[in-house]
């Protein structure tokens, strides 16, 4: 018999979603919502930072979405979703009390436990902060086990900053350094304008003792990895989260496959060195 990985509940079919209730909705941005979900039977949902679930909008379809909540609060399953097409649109229209299907968690996440003792540089771009948030919670919950902790976040404009209240809260802490930069802004924005790689150039960390987690649009990750390497960070200590179309999320169907690697099963988080060729493969 299979075991549902998130809840340790035996299920007949690993493709079969469990029904979760929407218990909270937060509109983060005009096109982005965060859903708080609860298993009707009140069972906890255990996961690792960086893992994802397949979320099913009944009658519409199923999509992979990273978990954006806190591993230390397993009673609350949290997902942050940006509307791009019909399934994500259906999630954005949900109301409290509605139900969705959830199967997971899947994949390999951020190796938070393997980088203890290092400086940690977390680089997020746009919605890429959502899959990084569980890693940030986890690092901060064990703050004494890491060296410098640096969070660098880039977004399109000041109106596109995700988790703004939390950014303020993190910025107020003495034990981490957080810097935000936007691509463009109107006069009056007190923060930085430029590319997120500029923040890497000036951040305080020891490159030889640094592990970096990078998540955002692929183009942003490519330049961020390059900027980290230029600072002297070994790219085998740089981890990136990849997005590929998915169907089964179990390593069966091959939808997410490149070469011998399945993003759903071997990722979505990879050490950059192991998938660097993916970043340089041109589609046309």
């Amino acid at each position: 018999m299979n075991v549902h990985p998130g809840t340790a509940k035996p299920v007949e079919d690993p493709m079969l979603p469990l029904t979760y209730e929407v218990v909270g909705i937060k509109k983060e941005l005009p096109d982005t919502v965060t859903l708080d979900l609860r298993a009707p039977n009140g069972m906890p949902f255990e996961f690792e930072p960086g893992q994802f679930n397949m979320l099913y909008a009944f009658g519409v379809g199923e999509i992979p979405i990273s978990i954006s909540g806190d591993t230390s609060d397993p009673m609350q399953l949290v997902h942050t979703i940006r509307v791009v097409g019909k399934v994500s649109q259906a999630f954005a229209k949900l109301k409290e009390g509605d139900s969705i299907g959830v199967r997971g968690p899947y994949g390999v996440g951020w190796p938070v436990n393997n980088i203890k003792g290092s400086d940690v540089v977390i680089v997020g771009g746009g919605l890429g902060l959502a899959p990084l948030r569980p890693a940030i919670y986890s690092v901060l919950a064990n703050r004494g086990q890491f060296g410098n902790v640096v969070i660098l976040y880039g977004a399109r404009t000041p109106n596109d900053l995700l988790f703004e209240e939390q950014l303020h809260e993190w910025r107020g802490r003495f034990d981490l350094h957080l810097d935000v930069i936007v691509d463009r802004a109107e006069a009056g924005w007190p923060g930085r304008v430029g590319v997120v790689t500029q923040l890497i150039d000036n951040a305080v960390f020891d490159p030889e003792e640094t592990a970096a987690f990078v998540c955002g649009p692929e183009i942003m990750m490519r330049y961020a990895v390059q900027a980290l390497a230029d600072r002297g960070v070994d790219t085998k200590n740089v981890y990136v989260s990849m997005e590929r179309n998915m169907h089964c999320a179990l390593g069966f169907c091959g939808h997410c496959q490149f070469g011998g690697t399945f993003v759903c099963r071997d990722g979505p988080v990879f050490a950059y060195d192991t998938i660097s060729e993916l970043f340089t493969t041109r589609e046309a």
């Binding site: 005009p30 096109d31 940006r82 509307v83 791009v84 097409g85 649109q89 771009g125 746009g126 880039g154 977004a155 399109r156 596109d160 691509d183 463009r184 802004a185 109107e186 006069a187 009056g188 924005w189 007190p190 923060g191 930085r192 304008v193 430029g194 590319v195 790689t197 500029q198 000036n202 955002g216 649009p217 183009i219 942003m220 330049y223």
Partner: protein, 160 residues
Amino acid sequence: MVDQRDMASIIGEVGFFDGLPPDTLELLAGCAKNVRFNAGDYIYREGQAADTFYIIRHGSVAVQLHVPGRRPLVIESLTTNEVLGWSWIVAPYRWSFDAQCVTLVRALAFDATCLRTKMETDCAVGYEMLRRFVTVMSQRLRGTRIRLADMYAPTVNAAD
């Protein structure tokens, strides 16, 4: 008042001048002074003569494009240890944008005429300065090009 020797050692601590020999630092110090601006002050305006260049020692400056009928657009912000302005090195030596202080700003200001004269009479100094400015220009151009890709834009309009 900072004397020339102190100024040379201040300049020597700025990353942009890393590796310059002491006599070059002395030479640059002869063209430099400390300046201070308040938040909201304009350091320069588009179209004015570019007769100075700055290294920011403290604070943040917004490089702005004035767009008629709209609020000015910040195209880049610069902060501690960063170079502000290169129009002084490229004819016709006029600023292309406005530079407004976001916070109190302390900076090293270099007299452009003085520097250009020294760069022309001492080719080694000229080469070193150009080499450093080309690096900064190339980094900024790369940043601008990456931003042109509008990489955070949603793939599909949510309203579609």
